[in-house]
């Protein structure tokens, strides 16, 4: 009889602790509000061999010419997701133009992915900032969607660097800065 009573207490205590744990989880889930996608890191780099595939896509540029991403294989690609309506994108546009002028001759390809925009507004933006590299007319967001499946893109602007084998070497969340870009570029060159 005594043994039975003790076992009962043990089970009851265990159940109570379990419930308190579960409820504690509930509380922390509820009280901390919505979790961010990730810790909003400025930069994510993927070591060679553990890089997500960059999705292939075909699309049209803002000027109407076809773009086939597969044809970019063999080159390092800097892919910038932007929109003419996006304030921080205006800020980094000058930086990107400079990087294009500097690294373009070295064989690094720059490509834009213009989302939720119209060609008129987008071309205006580009000519206003002197950017000459092509951008995908991604008004429907289909290309960005494929990218977002591969890496956690959380907003605009976002810049991806893709290595020569077609894998995503890293990502900058927010406006591009020179030091970050340099780091990413060096990483991307290592493809083992």
């Amino acid at each position: 009889m005594v043994f039975k009573a003790k076992r009962r207490t043990v089970v009851t205590t265990a159940a109570a602790i379990f419930v308190l744990l579960v409820v504690g989880i509930v509380v922390s889930v509820v009280t901390s509000g919505s979790g961010a996608a990730n810790a909003n890191a400025d930069m994510i780099t993927y070591p060679a061999g553990h890089r997500p595939d960059a999705p292939d896509f075909t699309a049209t540029s803002l000027t109407g010419t076809p773009i086939n991403f597969a044809s970019y294989r063999g080159k390092i690609v800097v892919l910038n997701v932007w929109g003419s309506w996006c304030g921080p994108c205006r800020g980094e546009a000058t930086t990107l133009k400079y990087l294009d002028e500097q690294y373009g001759p070295q064989g690094i390809a720059f490509l834009g992915d213009d989302i939720q925009d119209t060609p008129t507004n987008a071309l205006n933006f580009l000519s206003g900032h002197g950017i000459t590299y092509p951008s995908v007319n991604d008004a429907s967001g289909a290309v960005e969607e494929r990218l977002a499946i591969a890496v956690p893109i959380s907003g605009t602007p976002t810049t991806l660097v893709i290595d020569k084998t077609g894998h995503i070497a890293g990502m900058i969340d927010g406006p591009v800065t020179y030091p970050e870009f340099n780091t990413l570029l060096q990483d991307a060159k290592v493809t083992q």
Partner: protein, 585 residues
């Protein structure tokens, strides 16, 4: 198992009903923890050891009284959450409250009253409540399992003390009478107990209604299940919002969504990868009668593909009819107007051309505010859109009907630096005019198709036409179905616990006067707070047993006990056999 018999010897004539109560409840074995509440049993203070304090605290926590207090606190705590604006559902109103109550609002904020249901103190209340619940439910589950295997208690010696009892003579011998009763009760699916070999007397104990406690436990445990389901949703679910104009497409990614709320374990890549186009949106309004202007229906025609590369399907989203894409649902939340503008800069080039969503300031008339930004032409405009224009007093632009029967837009123009080049984020619905100069000629009223040539060769703006936008919400909640299932189980448990009575019926037969036949006494009891109806059931059972155990005519002329007393009690002296509802004889 306590025996009722042991206590009936103590009770004198005219025993208080309270005593009978205790006898009635205690044998059921799953009664409330009475001694702790009333202070009897010496639970006045805990022994001075840690374990003693712990046990005392635990017993206090799991007592009914504490549960009562916690329930009150839960209800009370919810009140401010319904009266004050809450961050979770209406952050704009919260900000407004701060501006209108500048001294009170910060104090309310410190107490967490603007986000009550996520506040730590509210969580503490329901944590304690659920701990109390579990602490009560688990031991009772043990007791239930235990009682499921034990037979009913022995029949008390004096059945007349029970709340329901009736005695009548029978022609059968005591043994046969009890057997007959057993057949009746057994046929009603009572669990029976007969005297053991050594017991004297002819009696029968029957018990039924174990499902009641099962229902009770099921209900309380299901509530816990609901809580767990809510947690599941909070961890793995997400909710996103997007505003989309007719003709536009968006994909379900954080970069393309206006608002993203992800569960704790969800990352942006986990969102369902569909893309959706708003083909057309129609809002119908009642145009005559007492309810003029009231919305009659909203319809959004959309095309979507569930994943990149999937074929495109078309569908309709309406209020109360969300679209299901894989395991997510897309809801129609709001709508508004998006007038289309074309802005030409000083150099003659088109600097901006798009349908611009305007936000309704008044949902009854759909008068809306919006902003057009053309930073590359250094132009910005603030506008008011009215779907059915009406000039009140000749000067004030108003809308008198929510449908776009006579759309007009009134613009104030600015030229200068919009402040976007520094790269800071700005709301697309607000214009920062701190570095801009107002253009002369505003507010300029425009009808569709008209152009405003800006003075000073700054350019021009054309009001091309009017489109509509909708705001959609995409939700994914894996805890939804479990919550529903737990809710249904809780309801089932509730019904069982309310409408199944745990009851006992006892039958005793003693040899009759002069050794002929027997006198049968049938007694019954049920939990004092049971939902009732037992009187009728007991009466029917007693009558059934009487039928079976008195197959011959009654020993004396039967009183008409079926008549309601009030009419003429004196009449009941006379035998009225034709009033007997049953004629077992």
């Amino acid at each position: 198992m306590t025996d009722v018999h042991a206590h009936s010897a103590k009770a004198g004539p005219g025993a208080e009903t309270a005593d009978l109560d205790r006898e009635a409840t205690r044998p059921f074995g799953t009664g409330p923890v009475e001694p702790a509440e009333t202070g009897r049993g010496g639970a006045s203070g805990p022994p001075p050891t840690a374990a003693g304090w712990g046990r005392w605290a635990w017993r206090q926590l799991t007592s009914m009284r504490t549960a009562l207090i916690l329930l009150f606190l839960l209800a009370l705590g919810s009140v401010p959450g319904s009266i004050l604006p809450q961050e979770g559902s209406d952050p704009a109103s919260v900000t407004q409250y701060f501006t209108s109550h500048p001294s009170l609002a910060p104090w309310l904020n410190r107490l967490g009253l603007f986000n009550v249901f996520a506040a730590p103190w509210f969580a503490a209340i329901y944590i304690l409540l659920f701990a109390s619940l579990v602490g009560c439910v688990v031991p009772r589950t043990f007791k239930l399992v235990g009682s499921a295997r034990t037979p009913p208690p022995r029949a008390p010696r004096n059945l007349a003390r029970l709340p329901h009892s009736v005695s009548y003579p029978s022609a059968l011998s005591p043994d046969a009478a009890v057997d007959a009763a057993a057949s009746v009760l057994g046929g009603q699916r009572f669990r029976l107990r007969r005297p053991a070999a050594g017991d004297s007397g002819h009696w029968l104990a029957a018990e039924k209604g174990y499902l009641r406690e099962v229902g009770n436990l099921l209900f309380h445990l299901s509530l816990l299940g609901v809580l767990l389901s809510i947690a599941l949703g909070g961890l793995f679910g997400y909710k996103t919002d997007e505003l989309i104009t007719e003709g536009q497409t968006f994909s379900d990614t954080p970069a393309q969504l206006a608002e993203v709320h992800l569960g704790r374990l969800v990352s942006g890549s986990d969102l369902a990868p569909f893309s959706l186009t708003l083909d057309k949106f129609t809002a119908d309004y009642i145009d005559s009668g007492a309810s003029i202007g009231q919305p009659a229906g909203f319809t959004a025609n959309v095309s979507y593909s569930a994943a990149p590369g999937d074929p495109t399907k078309t569908d309709v989203i309406q209020v109360n009819h969300p679209l299901s894409v894989d395991s997510t649902k897309v809801y129609l939340i709001g709508h508004g107007y998006a007038p289309e503008f074309k802005v030409t800069g000083a150099n003659g080039q088109v600097a901006y051309s798009a349908a611009t969503p305007f936000i309704p300031a008044n949902t009854n008339t759909m008068l809306s505010d919006g902003v057009v930004k053309a930073p590359d032409a250094s132009l910005g405009f603030e506008g008011v859109f009215v779907p059915t224009a009406y000039m009140a007093n000749g000067t004030t632009l108003e809308s008198i009907f929510p449908a776009a029967n006579n759309p007009e837009v009134s613009l104030i123009g600015y030229s200068g630096n919009l402040g976007l080049n520094s790269g800071e984020t700005q709301s697309v619905y607000q214009l920062d005019t701190s570095q801009m100069k107002e253009i002369a000629g505003g507010p300029h009223l425009m009808t569709p198709g008209s152009t405003w040539k800006l003075p000073g060769n700054l350019g021009s703006i054309t009001y091309v036409g009017t489109k509509q936008w909708v705001s959609l919400e995409v939700t994914y909640d894996p805890g939804q179905i479990p919550a529903l299932v737990c809710g249904i189980l809780a309801l089932a448990g509730l019904l069982l616990s309310f409408f199944v009575r745990r009851r006992r019926v006892f039958v005793r037969a003693v040899p009759g006067a002069d050794g002929i036949g027997s006198v049968v006494t049938v007694g019954g009891l049920t939990r004092t707070d049971a939902s009732g109806g037992f009187e009728d059931e007991f009466a029917s059972l007693a009558a059934d047993i009487a039928d079976v155990s008195s197959p011959s005519a009654p020993l004396s002329s039967a009183p008409s006990s079926s008549d309601a007393g009030p009419a003429a009690p004196a009449d009941n002296q006379k035998p009225e056999p034709n009033n007997q509802p049953e004629t077992g004889a």
